[in-house]
Symmetry: C2
Subunit: 117 residues, 2 copies
DNA sequence: AAAAGTGTGTAGTAGGTATGACACATGAAC
DNA sequence: GTTCATGTGTCATACCTACTACACACTTTT
């Protein structure tokens, strides 16, 4: 299983090869966390941090925010708020796509993106 | 503002007119909560209860689970899990529907329900 | 070889979440 | 008029969540 912590560690170390400033300590500083805490996060010794912290980590490491949040077991709070505005419709929409093959999911996404309403 | 608590109270009292067993105490018992706690919930003296408790309340009062959860500021955990399986796609899909008129939202829902993949 | 940087172990904590237990006063039922 | 049911006030709590602070040993840089 690719846990949140180990994924984070691999990504950071990959960046570190090209840029020495991607140490635990310096990334922690940029992101506004204690180095010891980030270290524990990367070793999965503690649970993934807050949504805000994950967002800053995603930015610092050039990762997709929503994807990293998902790895951390969370969903962006702005999405939650949108769902809560139309709970029944979104519930049916999301559950309706449960078994959809990725291609079908992407088609719906594209359809909506191209805003045909 | 129609808060979670006051909505719950109104719904319960409406049911109580026809069926005297919809008292705070008896509903609390059916739902597995302390009467004093349910009372506080209905008066918004405390935050809405857990997802599980809201689910049982929805069932006991004949309400839509997802709608009641939304009123309580939550989103069903099974939806969260589905989103976490395709975080980027679902994020774009949901954000893409942010400003969609309800009719358009319903159209997409129906389209998916009729499973055209 | 001193200074600076590195990762991590240990300990502690402030605030939130989700309740339970008991007691009491009022009102309805028998 | 006692019994029973009702809603609610007060108090307590166990368990998370999301961290910080300090200290230590090792490595790299100068």
């Amino acid at each position: 299983m690719n846990s949140f912590g180990s994924y984070l560690r691999h990504r950071r170390e990959a960046l570190r090869v090209k840029d020495r400033s991607y140490s635990v300590r310096q990334v922690a500083k940029r992101v506004g966390l204690e180095p010891a805490y980030l270290s524990k996060i990367e070793r999965d010794e503690v649970a993934p941090p807050s949504e805000e912290a994950i967002g800053r980590l995603a930015e610092a490491l050039g990762e997709d925010r929503d994807a990293l949040l998902a790895l951390g077991g969370k969903v962006s709070s702005d999405l939650l708020e949108l769902i809560r505005r139309h709970p029944v419709a979104f519930a049916e929409l999301i559950r309706g796509l449960r078994d959809a093959p990725p291609a079908a999911l992407l088609r719906v996404v594209r359809e909506v993106r191209d805003g045909d309403w």
